[in-house]
Symmetry: C2
Subunit: 556 residues, 2 copies
């Protein structure tokens, strides 16, 4: 089954089409003339059509009635509702000697293709690579690129997991995305792709028409959960496993960041997520390069990092937000919502000692005990940050920390993040002390949905004490204002922050290389609001948590 | 929190009442005069009332309006809707030197108190203990005894987890249940209690009035799932953990069998079930005797048996139905429903080799791959059977295997079960080749519910090819006909089967003591429909899977 390709693939002078439609009586491919697909085992239908080639537009027709895009479409040139396009795989890769970046050397730069540059394209990202390399970044992490409705979206409303967003391409998004990955590798930068396997976007999701991709045993915050453990779930898994395979094998990605795995409910003995990490690691071995699987999980659950052999999910790393929340609430003095759990310098101390704050304590926000302790030796596998797309964007007005606190505090945030011993992630623009917002924006073509999102957004934040207007998620202005101001790269502030980040990243790498944060003899304490860490005579750190904010590190 | 007792407890000349009511404004206890309870932390309310003693009837009044039984009532003398009764703990135990039964020596006898004897009481069970001891039984497992509606129920409709069923007592069910446990220990027999932590029965479930015991994120086959991972779940867990503690500490049970843990959905880092097994094992250490936690799980998931330290659920043993299904379908030739997956002698071979059949293969019934392999060294921790209450009772007419196949096949079933290397369980009456049914019966006092159960039952089996009438679950006759015919103990058939079981149990114990089934060098094969197992010169087994059915074992 793992080699059974879904979607459209060029094979010599033919194109092979395959789609899973277990309840269908008849499936045709329209080119635009109709060709009947033949039923195969387990509900698949396929056809081998001669005389067409890459670039060919097509739709499937289900049961002689509905004309639908291919659920495994590899390109949607006209958007989520339009026809799919046959993509040819060959690309002139020049990364044959690329081996990836070791896990303990990852310094991640999260970016959103649409707002990262004025152009908002895959190709335009290339212009920043030399600068990022110089900054010390070893990996960029790209927010989801799977086809979403319209031109503006964070990416979590994608509905076509195999198709790179049409508006991110100048001419040919799939090829240009490959070109970006290739260019990153030339610069010695790994590329991690954010993928969404926990839900589908609200517009253009035709999957339910094709088969039991969803089930109603569990709910997610975004509606029906995907079917990873019910009847026919093997084929639903196959769909997403093929997706893992596509990005790693065909697009040469160095890893995947799986969005909100805590919303993937699956009680099977062999969870889908364990299959996914095993597949990625098998591919890494086959391809002889590093491939990292990173989970976003809010569970503070060490089983995420436990090997699949030992019954865990087998991720190489996972997001751990406790440090962020500590930094944010202590610097901004915000104490609403989940920040209420993190007020107080002693919480920072706890994270610096253990990697996470919640290791089983009662959470006032969650109204229950939360988490379990991680092993000290896994400290470097916890992805930490002082800002990321979620923490910035999931505020009513999407304010970056750079607009909430002064320069000194902003520097303290950077130091706390980069010197904490976790796997540091910084968000695009953070390195110049960016103060523009990163707001929530969408571009649904469905009018009602657009209104619903706007009103929902207002309602969501009604209980908070934000003042002033909430930006309209559907307005193009909201999107445009979310772009970092790269002209500031050469401003005094921009230069100062760039120099600071460069220095901190360098120190961060050195400390991780020396494994000081994994050492059982490391002593961490707070004295007069100064966080102090010391490992015998080898390492000494002090970061002030009150004005004047300072950070000093020394090591032998 | 673990020491915060809920319910009513005699303390000197006072009775202490405590109830969790996080959304309540006011809670009173009615004796029948009202006494106000004082609010405590985390939503508890309590009062210490002097001048009353054990035997006192009471109800709680919530917010000055509804009069309700105590959710942690320790006795409901008038049933699920009636008042609760204060129970005093002291009992004249004579099992001070009892250490329990080692895990690898457990031979379990499952019984249902209501139908096990003519009297249907805890005390009447005692009359069988000498006989069971002589048979080689080392533990009885009692189907759930928590207060359920009416007088007749398998026990899975219980709504008052701390209160032994009133109709199982002659005068004082709690004391008589203790007396039964004490008597078992005198006979050297351990007692395991079946407990239901996955749902509450449909009649008399007042828990939702008290607090967020349930949540709507997950569904179970029996309605809303209990809240083990949402807001306030610490207190819901506390309720059930106190229940674990009551049965082990106060009632001296030697273990608990947790019903259908696959229906307990809980995504927390520290699952409720892991807390429950840890608590039981802590109590075992404290009490200096064996306490075993056994899961019913249909997941074929080795994480159930993995230690909590390693991220597992920490159960000592778990039900594993594959052997039953193989035995049943191969002897009866039934191939409907889940039996469709188990047709064929090679499936038996697989179970004898690996302990389970489904270790990741595709299941036609489940329409997905199922299970993961268990370690060979855990073979003796898989509870196996040739009959149990579920497999008999969840048939339209509740036919026991004894009425479906002839004597020779029935003997083969016994041999396959008892010599398979699992932890054998036999169902009451099996040892005399009982042919009476064990039907599904209820005695809901709610008329509509009674009708709904009857009609639901008919509908459930409408798709099957059962012939004839389906017994009315609500009829007393259905219950009475489900009792084993103990007069047959002295019949030729009864004696023959008793002798067979005695011999097989004895051999089973010896083989488990020698760990032949855990040995990596064990060879198992089928030759001409004879299942053969051999361990070097130490052990040899052959069981014929076709007529003439024979079983031979030899060991040195």
């Amino acid at each position: 089954m793992d080699t059974k390709r879904i979607g459209a693939h060029v094979s010599g002078n033919n194109v092979e089409f395959r789609v899973w439609a277990p309840q269908a009586e008849k499936v045709e491919v329209l080119l635009p003339e109709a060709h009947l697909l033949s039923p195969e085992e387990k509900g698949y239908f396929s056809a081998r059509i001669p005389g067409i080639k890459a670039g060919q537009l097509y739709k499937f027709r289900l049961n002689g009635k509905e004309e639908l895009p291919d659920p495994a479409s590899r390109f949607q040139p006209e958007g989520v509702h339009g026809p799919s396009q046959v993509v040819d795989e060959p690309f002139s890769w020049s990364d044959q000697s690329w081996k990836g970046v070791p896990l303990e050397e990852l310094v991640i730069y999260e970016l959103h293709v649409g707002t990262f540059t004025a152009e908002g394209t895959f190709l335009a990202v290339k212009n920043h690579l030399a600068r990022l390399k110089d900054l010390g970044i070893t990996a960029i992490e790209i927010m989801p690129v799977s086809q979403f409705p319209g031109k503006r979206n964070w990416g979590y409303d994608g509905v076509s997991p195999f198709a790179p967003q049409n508006s991110y391409g100048q001419k040919n998004a799939p090829e240009e995305l490959k070109s970006l990955v290739n260019e990153c590798h030339k610069h010695g930068i790994a590329v991690i792709l954010d993928v969404v396997y926990n839900h589908m976007g609200p517009e253009g999701n035709y999957l339910p028409k094709w088969g039991p991709y969803f089930q109603d045993k569990y709910k997610t915050p975004w509606g029906e959960a995907l079917n990873f453990d019910g009847e026919h779930s093997d084929e639903v898994r196959h769909y997403f496993l093929q997706n893992v395979r596509q990005w790693i094998e065909e697009y040469h990605f160095d890893g995947l960041r799986l969005d909100a795995i805590h919303a993937i409910l699956d009680t099977s003995a062999r969870p889908f997520l364990a299959e996914a990490t095993d597949l990625a690691h098998d591919l890494a071995e086959k391809l002889d390069r590093h491939v990292w699987m990173i989970a976003e999980s809010d569970g503070n659950d060490p089983r995420v990092l436990q090997s699949t052999r030992e019954g865990g999910l087998g991720f190489d790393a996972q997001w751990a937000d406790d440090l962020h929340h500590c930094i944010h609430s202590n610097l901004t003095k915000e104490n609403e919502g989940y920040y209420s759990d993190y007020v107080g310098e002693e919480k920072i101390l706890d994270v610096f000692k253990h990697g996470t704050y919640f290791r089983g304590q009662y959470s006032d926000f969650r109204k229950r005990r939360h988490g379990r302790p991680y092993s000290l030796k896994d400290r470097h596998r916890l992805v930490v940050c002082a800002q990321n797309h979620d923490q910035i964007g999931n505020r009513a007005r999407g304010e970056r920390l750079g607009s909430l606190v002064d320069e000194e505090k902003l520097k303290a945030a950077a130091a706390l993040n980069l010197l904490s011993g976790g796997m540091p992630l910084i968000f695009m623009g953070e390195e110049i002390g960016e103060s523009n917002p990163f707001a929530y924006f969408v571009d649904h073509t469905d009018k009602e949905l657009r209104t619903a999102v706007r009103e929902g957004r207002k309602k969501e934040f009604a209980a908070f004490t934000w003042k002033g207007e909430i930006p309209d998620p559907g307005a193009e202005e909201t999107f445009n204002k979310s772009k970092p101001q790269w002209s500031e790269l050469n401003s005094e502030r921009g230069k100062k922050f760039t120099a600071l980040y460069k220095s901190l990243i360098n120190t961060s790498k050195e400390l991780r290389r020396r494994k000081v944060w994994n050492h059982p003899d490391l002593e961490v304490k707070i004295v007069n609001s100064v966080l102090q860490a010391q490992l015998k005579n080898q390492f000494k750190l002090s970061i002030s948590l009150q004005s004047p904010y300072t950070a000093e590190v020394s090591y032998e």
